[in-house]
């Protein structure tokens, strides 16, 4: 199985994603420069974290016009698994692959810390190895992770069970006390209506080894590895 890790100018978690899938998970990984136009032969696309184009203007706003994005859209539309992590999630939002937008954290500050995230849905390629309701300890590191969508849009996300990760308290409750950034409905991550495109603000790739404080993020990559191996998900 081969992961493609898209590198935008300003991506800075690209090497972390590479390390996680190649050296911890043991899969193949290759970097794809944002000017390339061909994702051929890859089984899963990772849009990594960082500050594509410096996050100037708006997070993800300029990156979505990168040449590679046309192929990422094609890959996603063909059913291939795509995961956007942090800045990658922001790119997915800007490019319309996932609904909604990001506002500044309500603290107006960058926040880097471990948070608790509940897995709400296990029928996506990135959560199928999770237990329903499993709580993951994952780091966040962002200044604009305050997810927003109009109330009707949020209602539709809920109806379609597209909210797959929510920030929670240690008791597992998705209440304000567990919400680090002000995201509507404590949303930490979403999937597309076809469920193959996933975006989340926390960094699973930073939580794949216990030496780093948590290995809870590895299950996302194990999930997609299993899904691809079993042929449960692929771009056709």
């Amino acid at each position: 199985m081969t992961f493609a890790i898209v590198v935008f100018p300003g991506s800075n978690c690209d090497h972390d994603a590479y390390h996680a899938v190649k050296h911890v998970l043991g899969a193949n990984a290759r970097f794809v420069w944002h000017k390339e136009t061909n994702l051929q032969g890859v089984d899963c696309v990772i849009l990594p974290g960082g500050f594509a184009h410096g996050d100037y203007l708006r997070t993800g706003a300029i990156a979505r016009f990168s040449p590679v994005m046309a192929d990422v859209v094609k890959f996603a539309e063909a059913g291939g698994p795509v995961i956007g992590i942090c800045n990658g999630f922001q790119v997915l939002l800007e490019s319309g692959l996932l609904p909604g937008a990001m506002l500044r954290n309500r603290s107006l500050k960058f926040q880097c810390e471990h948070v608790l995230v509940k897995v709400e849905q296990t029928d996506t390629p990135f959560t199928r190895a999770c237990r329903p309701g499993q709580i993951l300890n994952l780091p966040i590191a962002h200044g604009e992770g305050n997810y927003y969508a109009e109330p009707e849009a949020v209602a539709q996300l809920e109806r379609n069970r597209q909210v797959i990760f929510r920030y929670v308290t240690p008791a597992g409750e998705a209440v304000d006390a567990g919400n680090p950034n002000g995201s509507v409905a404590n949303i930490a991550g979403l999937c597309s209506d076809r469920r193959n495109v996933v975006g989340l603000m926390p960094h699973p790739e930073r939580a794949c080894e216990s030496a780093l404080g948590s290995a809870d993020g590895l299950v996302l990559f194990e999930s997609v590895l299993g899904a691809v191996k079993e042929g449960a998900v692929h771009a056709r």
Binding site: P9, F51, K109, F110, C112, A141, A211, L212
Partner: protein
């Protein structure tokens, strides 16, 4: 052009220096030449007041691959790898514009590291501000922290540690010192020198504007009302551009088409051109008309002195230009050829072909003025060193304990480091707040433990002892984690060197720092001097910050400050002498910076540090935390926090009489060479044997467990609080002083 005294003064030069310029050139300088001399001979670039002292520092050792003289120092960390590191100040710019000043400080030190061919992997910072009770200081703090975060986070280098202290003396002159460490293959370190006549010189990065003209001279002048006028000089950082430069430069270095490179930091194109030529024993000729410009109508003077950020100067092998250009093009950057290497040892600057400056490199570097400025022990010192305990009433121990935990210097710094991405690159195995920031070195078994420290109160009361104590503390911090201290870098922040008492503080501090490093076997591979840190004639506390790199042999054996679990034995290594001079207790409870700082026996300090490394690497210690600000009581409290494991100890063996100053001195005295360590009961025998073998005094204090923090003397509890209460106090003291709690 005739140089009159007024013109010289505008350039921060003395009349004697003006005469010397004429002598060295054999003629009157042009205005461009005068500008070039003014920045190269500024304190910031020439080290004219400090060099005679810096020469005395120990800079060599078996691990040293690069000592002072290049953009950064380097030490061998095994496996064919080098740690490349340095610290730099951006104090004055950070006062004028906190966000951009701090941000560009981070950008500058990162360039110093990747210029050496190293990939930057960790940042630390050492910050000093006035009292947090002042709204203006709070804005300054918010801006500086946001600026460091804004730059470091964006470029993707984790900030894994640092320190922050508050004292009124810094209110009008904060200190912003940033440390960066990078990794390189030991045999691939790049030097910033220009060789090979005819090799082309390339400019790459941001376009040049009128930013920061005379920034280097500004960094060499104290503040007064007039400095507000220098404000248009503010530089704006562009971390995105720097990220592109970083990746492109590291890629270029992997080809052998590169001869040398240097960043354009303070004094921009001037210092890079002249220093590269000088180091290579060659000359450089450039035409400033070829320099990419952001603004129109810039003069050669302005182009040479601009401090626009995110620019690099490269010397490339002739015939290999296309390879290098292709790499930069990939990263959307343009490398522009602006000149070439010559053989005549001169810096020649043309403007559309016409020579506007032609100076022998030596006149700007080796022949720059050197001063042995007069030094005098301050008259006020004897008075400040006396401590009349009979005029003070000792505070209640329990209340003092909570006051100390709530004081910003001791309270949790989470409000600060939460704004820094401290995990990016997935190497951080000890996060900020848990001890020395520690990063693993992927591909090896090893890790690096990093610490920056300085207690300005100690330095103020005894500069030599204070600077030595700073070295001891920083080294002890990395030793607690299990790291052997193998290299250091310093950032010497002082007042106006033209005042003999400041120069005395400086000279003494350098002497003390050198002695400590020599005794502990830690070479200083580079650093930075920041003088004129004064407001209206009042200097900051002398602050010679030291950054230390510790080598941890086994990353998986790293130890943090926090008690691991209940039922462990808590011991004190080293001896408390009840020394309260210069302590946080006196400052926080009595508003005093007085007395004599703790005594330091460097042999005992070294023994303790070696023991701490052994205890970690042999998996004996389960936590280790050095005793510093706030003394034993605060050290014990900090050992409980975050893991929430309580402690119950009896310090009778250490204490004097059970009331009054004896208890206070035992709990809050800041004697050097001590650490609180916890071990599983079954390992106590090994600990005891190791301590005895090392000749380090060991006292069993009690054990971990429960949800209270209890310190007893004899039968009596002198501190007894719910751990949760103490932790709340400590955790929120800084954040609560700012507007939003979130």
């Amino acid at each position: 052009m005739p140089v009159d005294p007024q013109l010289l003064e505008q350039h921060g030069l003395t009349v004697e220096e003006g005469a010397r310029i004429i002598e060295l050139l054999g003629r009157e300088p042009s205005i461009t030449e005068l500008g070039i001399f003014s920045v190269m001979w500024s304190e910031h670039c020439s080290y004219k007041s400090s060099r005679v002292h810096l020469k005395t520092l120990p800079t060599t050792g078996p691990r040293v691959l690069q000592g002072p003289g290049e953009n950064a120092g380097a030490v061998d960390i095994g496996d064919g790898l080098a740690a490349v590191f340095k610290i730099e100040s951006h104090n004055h710019p950070s006062f004028i514009e906190p966000y951009q000043g701090a941000a560009t400080g981070v950008g500058g030190i990162i360039r110093d590291i990747f210029t050496m061919g190293a990939r930057p992997v960790a940042l630390l910072n050492s910050l000093r501000f006035g009292s947090l009770d002042e709204p203006l200081v709070r804005r300054n703090v918010e801006g500086v922290v946001a600026g460091i975060a804004g730059y470091g986070n964006s470029i993707g280098i984790p900030t894994v540690g640092g320190e922050i202290e508050f004292d009124e003396s810094y209110a009008g002159n904060p200190l912003v010192n940033v440390f960066c460490l990078g990794l390189a293959k030991a045999d691939e370190i790049i030097r910033a020198s220009a060789t090979g006549a005819g090799n082309p010189v390339f400019y790459v990065g941001s376009k040049t504007g009128r930013d920061g003209i005379h920034g280097a001279t500004m960094a060499s002048a104290e503040f007064d009302e007039k400095s507000a006028e220098k404000r248009p000089a503010v530089q704006v950082g562009d971390p995105f551009m720097e990220k592109l430069l970083l990746e492109a430069c590291l890629e270029v270095m992997h080809s052998d088409a590169l001869v040398g490179m240097q960043d354009m930091g303070a004094a921009g194109l001037t210092s890079s051109t002249c220093e590269m030529g000088s180091r290579g024993g060659a000359g450089i000729e450039i035409d400033v008309a070829l320099v990419p410009q952001r603004e129109t109508g810039m003069t050669p003077y302005e182009i040479m002195l601009s401090e626009s950020q995110e620019r690099m100067l490269l010397v490339v092998k002739r015939g290999r230009e296309a390879e290098v250009e292709a790499v930069f093009t990939k990263w959307d950057l343009h490398a522009v050829r602006i000149g070439e290497v010559t053989t005549d040892g001169r810096m020649r600057v043309k403007h559309h072909g016409e020579v506007v400056a032609d100076i022998p490199n030596g006149a700007l570097t080796d022949n720059a003025p050197q001063y042995r400025r007069p030094m005098a022990r301050p008259a006020w010192l004897d008075e400040a060193r006396t401590l009349a305990f009979d005029t003070l009433t000792p505070a209640d121990a329990g209340a003092a304990f909570l006051r100390l935990l709530a004081s910003p210097g001791i309270a949790s710094k989470r409000w600060v480091y939460r704004q820094y991405d401290h995990m990016v690159r997935t190497n951080t195995i000890v996060m900020p707040g848990m001890g020395a920031g520690t990063i693993r070195v992927k591909g090896t078994d090893r890790a690096l433990a990093l610490s920056v420290d300085c207690n300005g109160r100690f330095v103020y009361l005894d500069p030599a002892a204070g600077a030595a104590l700073a070295v001891a503390e920083a080294a002890r911090n990395v030793a607690c984690a299990g790291g052997e201290p193998i290299g250091a870098t310093n950032c010497l922040n002082f007042g106006n060197p033209q005042r003999p008492e400041i120069m005395w503080q400086f000279g003494e501090a350098v002497r003390g720092m050198g002695e400590a490093c020599r005794a502990l076997g830690i070479p200083i591979t580079g650093g930075n001097v920041s003088l004129y840190n004064e407001t209206d004639g009042k200097a900051v506390l002398p602050t010679p910050t030291i950054g230390i790199v510790g080598l941890v042999e086994h990353a998986d054996r790293v130890v943090t400050r926090a008690f691991a679990e209940a039922g462990h034995v808590v011991v004190l290594l080293g001896e408390g002498l009840g020394e309260l001079g210069g302590s946080a207790y006196l400052k926080v409870l009595h508003g005093l910076i007085r007395g004599v700082p703790p005594a330091l026996d460097l042999a005992r300090e070294g023994a303790l540090q070696r023991l701490l490394v052994t205890l970690a690497m042999e998996r004996i210690s389960r936590s280790a935390h050095d005793c510093a600000e706030g003394g034993l009581a605060v050290t014990l409290a900090e050992s409980c926090f975050d893991t929430g494991v309580g402690v119950d100890v009896d310090v009778s063996e250490l204490a004097g009489p059970a009331a009054g100053w004896g208890v206070i001195a035992t709990l809050f005295g800041e004697s050097a060479s001590r650490a609180v360590v916890s071990v599983a009961p079954g390992d106590f025998g090994r600990l005891d044997a190791a301590a005895r073998a090392a000749g380090v005094p060991i006292t069993t204090l009690g054990q971990t467990g429960g949800d209270r923090l209890r310190i007893r003397v004899g039968g009596r509890s002198v501190v007894d609080v719910a751990l949760a209460e103490a932790e709340q106090t400590w955790a929120h003291a800084i954040g609560d002083r700012f507007h939003r709690a979130h």
